[in-house]
C-alpha cells in the first residue's frame, strides 16, 4: 500500500485555439518493482501504478501502460492540442486498486 501519494500537474491555464500545449505530470509513489529484497532476503512485493490516462473534455490525450521499469515518482511529459476551453483530467491506477485523480482547467480564446 503506497502512502502519501500526491499527484502534481503542470498545464497552461490559457491558450489560443488549435495551440499545442505541453503538459507535465508527476506523482509521488514508491513504484516498488517486486525485484528488491528486504534485509532478511524476502522479496518486497510489487506495488506500482500500472496505468496513467490523460483526457481532455472526455477524449483521450494519452493512455500509458506502465511496467515496473518506470522510475519512482512517475513523471510524464506530453503534448495536447486544444481547440476549445475545457478540463484536463488525469487518472492514475494503482496495483492495489487505488485510483488517484487530478484535473486542470484551460481557457482557450
Amino acid at each position: 500500500m503506497a502512502e502519501n501519494v500526491t499527484p502534481r500537474v503542470r498545464a497552461p491555464r490559457e491558450a489560443s485555439v488549435g495551440e499545442v500545449v505541453s503538459v507535465r505530470t508527476l506523482i509521488s509513489h514508491p513504484m516498488e518493482s517486486g525485484m528488491r529484497r528486504d534485509g532478511d532476503g524476502n522479496v518486497i512485493p510489487r506495488s506500482i501504478i500500472n496505468r496513467f490516462v490523460c483526457t481532455f473534455n472526455g477524449e483521450v490525450v494519452v493512455d500509458v501502460t506502465m511496467e515496473p521499469s518506470i522510475a519512482t515518482n512517475p513523471y510524464f511529459q506530453f503534448e495536447a492540442k486544444v481547440m476549445e476551453s475545457g478540463t484536463f483530467n488525469f487518472t492514475w491506477y494503482d496495483d492495489d486498486g487505488s485510483v488517484y485523480e487530478d484535473s486542470s482547467d484551460i481557457t482557450v480564446s
Binding site: 499545442v20 525485484m35 490525450v61 494519452v62 511496467e67 522510475a71 510524464f76 503534448e79
Partner: protein, 140 residues
C-alpha cells in the same frame, strides 16, 4: 550460531550468486521475444522515430528518456537489460498534440533502450539507444 567473518563472506557470495541467476530463470521473455510478440515478427524501419536518452546515466534509478514518432498510434519502450524488459506503452488519443512523450525509467545496468512505434498503416518503426549506467536501478 555465530558466523565467523570468513563463513559470512562465503554464504553471502553464494546467496548473491543465486540471486544473480534468479532473474534470468524466472523471466524467460527477453527483449527480442517481447519485441517479436509486439510486432508479430514484422520488419521495422529506422526512419521517422527519435529516441533521446543520455549516453551515460550516473544513477540507473531514474533515467530520463524522450521518444517521438510523428503520426504513430502507439509507442512501446523496452529496456533490453532489465529483468523485465517491458517499460511502458504510450497510446496516443485524438486530443494529443504530438506523438511524443518524456518519462523517467529504471535501468539495471549498461544496456540498449529500445522504442518501437506502431503506425496506423500497420508498419513499425524502431529506435535503439545505448545507455551506460554507473549505478544500477533494479535493486540487484
Amino acid at each position: 550460531m555465530s558466523l565467523t567473518r570468513r563463513e559470512f563472506v562465503g554464504t553471502s557470495l553464494t546467496s548473491a550468486a543465486a540471486f544473480a541467476a534468479f532473474p534470468s530463470m524466472s523471466f524467460a521473455a527477453t527483449a527480442d521475444e517481447a519485441i517479436a510478440a509486439y510486432t508479430g515478427g514484422a520488419a521495422t524501419s529506422d526512419a521517422g522515430i527519435t529516441l533521446i536518452a543520455p549516453e551515460i546515466a550516473e544513477n540507473g534509478n531514474t533515467v530520463q528518456i524522450e521518444v517521438s514518432a510523428p503520426g504513430a498510434e502507439e509507442i512501446i519502450m523496452f529496456a533490453a537489460g532489465n529483468p523485465n524488459p517491458n517499460v511502458a506503452t504510450f497510446k496516443f488519443g485524438p486530443m494529443s498534440g504530438s506523438q511524443a512523450a518524456t518519462t523517467r525509467i529504471r535501468l539495471a545496468g549498461e544496456q540498449d533502450v529500445i522504442a518501437i512505434a506502431k503506425m496506423p498503416d500497420g508498419s513499425f518503426l524502431k529506435a535503439v539507444s545505448n545507455v551506460k549506467v554507473t549505478i544500477g536501478g533494479c535493486g540487484g
